[in-house]
């Protein structure tokens, strides 16, 4: 496979093959952490970092690893990587770790990372794999943040609550609180996560159909 078109990689990562909205991967961490926009963003960024590095490493060793044992090799690789990130953050960026620390260990169970290793990095060059990891990671971050924001908005009436704790005081302007809104608890609980995801999947499908219809309409006169 020599699909090294970076435009396609970015488009796939952000929309066509979006980890959550198209591949339906990584739903476990998605449901678990998207109770607020800030949590979603934090998990997304940490996953992106691991995804890029794991894609690069898998791509480097892809010629050495045989098909028969590739899965255990990749699992060991990803678990090692996440543990190293966890230890390093704990040691050197301790303040950030105290906020993000909860999410780091969850990345091990993120099947999107193994998924990209299997589906892309093992067949492609290092640069393309890194780009794929970055695009997929950003798409994942975007999906988590949007789901998180919707659930947070409906569930607790805030947007980006506690963002300044994670990103620094400069980002305090992101925090929005809707006055006199008690919040619908259901949206914070797991059923709310599935409901929001369901509506978003339906929305994506409608947009995709509209786009396809427009594409056909535009193509029709040319062929006629």
């Amino acid at each position: 496979m020599s699909d090294n078109n970076y435009g396609t990689i970015v488009k796939d990562g952000l929309w066509e093959q979006n980890v959550v909205f198209a591949q339906m991967l990584a739903l476990c961490p998605t449901m678990a952490v998207t109770t607020s926009g800030t949590n979603g963003l934090g998990m997304g960024l940490a996953s992106t970092a691991v995804l890029v590095v794991s894609n690069i490493l898998v791509s480097i060793i892809r010629k050495t690893v045989s098909d028969q044992v590739r899965i255990p090799v990749f699992v060991v690789l990803i678990a090692t990587l996440v543990t190293i990130v966890d230890l390093a953050m704990n040691a050197w960026v301790h303040e950030l770790y105290k906020v993000l620390g909860l999410f780091i260990a969850l990345i091990v169970v993120n099947c999107a990372i193994l998924g990209r290793a299997e589906a892309y990095a093992v067949k492609n060059g290092v640069l393309a794999s890194a780009a794929d990891g970055l695009a997929m990671g950003i798409g994942f971050t975007g999906a988590l943040t949007v789901i998180g924001l919707v659930r947070e908005f409906l569930g607790s009436g805030t947007l980006f609550a506690q963002a300044s704790q994670m990103l620094g005081p400069a980002f305090a302007f992101l925090e929005v609180q809707i006055p006199d809104y008690g919040g619908a608890l259901l949206m914070i609980l797991p059923p709310g996560g599935f409901a929001v995801l369901g509506f978003m999947l339906a929305g994506k499908r409608i947009i995709d159909q509209k786009l396809a219809a427009r594409g056909e309409a535009a193509a029709a006169p040319a062929t006629a």
């Binding site: 109770t35 044992v69 704990n90 301790h94 914070i188």
Partner: protein
């Protein structure tokens, strides 16, 4: 013999797995030993900060990190930090732990000489982000509810979350976490009451 034919040999698979496992373990060992001092230092700083956090300002004038005594509790040694002013014992601080929703919750508490809590903080936990992590002071001021409480106030059967007919709030979507913290604090107060003689004995170092 080139790599492609070698890759399909039976012996290649365990060898590859072994090498990968070896490299992974080596990488982890190196990173673990490289980060251990920094992690220990960061955790010691956290401890000092949180110890100062649960003590009302100006209550102690000694270095309570040094004035410690190890007390046996159910077979485990609990380090008790003793805060003094003018040599007079004012409060003791110690850690308690309880199993929460996912793993152990470590709680630090300060108790005054009459067995009242001066302050409670959750040091370490792995509860669900956004639900159970409201036991952290920076997410919610729930832990401040413990201030001034003692074993007799509220009554022992009221030392529970509201769902269990107690006096402490639970969180929406997370009952097990606050329940565990309440249990930990109650256990800590009982530990202090039972071992007060040993805890206050000696002048420390």
């Amino acid at each position: 013999m080139n790599l492609d034919t070698l890759r399909d040999k039976l012996g290649y698979q365990p060898l590859l797995l072994g090498v990968v496992a070896l490299l992974a373990s080596a990488a982890l060992a190196v990173v673990s030993s490289a980060t251990a001092p920094a992690i220990a230092a960061a955790e010691a700083k956290d401890l000092r900060d949180s110890l100062s956090d649960v003590l009302p300002a100006g209550l102690a004038d000694n270095d309570f990190l040094k004035d410690t005594v190890d007390i046996d509790r159910d077979g485990k040694a609990v380090t008790v930090y003793r805060a003094r002013r003018g040599g007079e014992l004012q409060a003791v601080l110690f850690k308690v732990a309880e199993r929460g929703y996912s793993g152990e919750i470590q709680v630090l508490m300060a108790v005054d000489m009459d067995g009242r809590t001066l302050g409670v903080r959750v040091l370490k936990h792995t509860e669900t982000p956004g639900l159970g992590d409201k036991v952290e002071l920076r997410k919610d001021d729930w832990v401040l509810d413990f201030n001034g409480k003692s074993l007799g106030d509220p009554a022992p059967e009221k030392w529970a979350v509201k769902k269990d007919n107690g006096v402490f709030d639970q969180f929406a979507g997370a009952t097990i976490t606050p329940r565990a913290v309440v249990k930990a604090v109650k256990g800590g107060l009982a530990f202090y009451a039972a071992r007060k003689q040993d805890i206050t004995a000696g002048s420390g170092s």
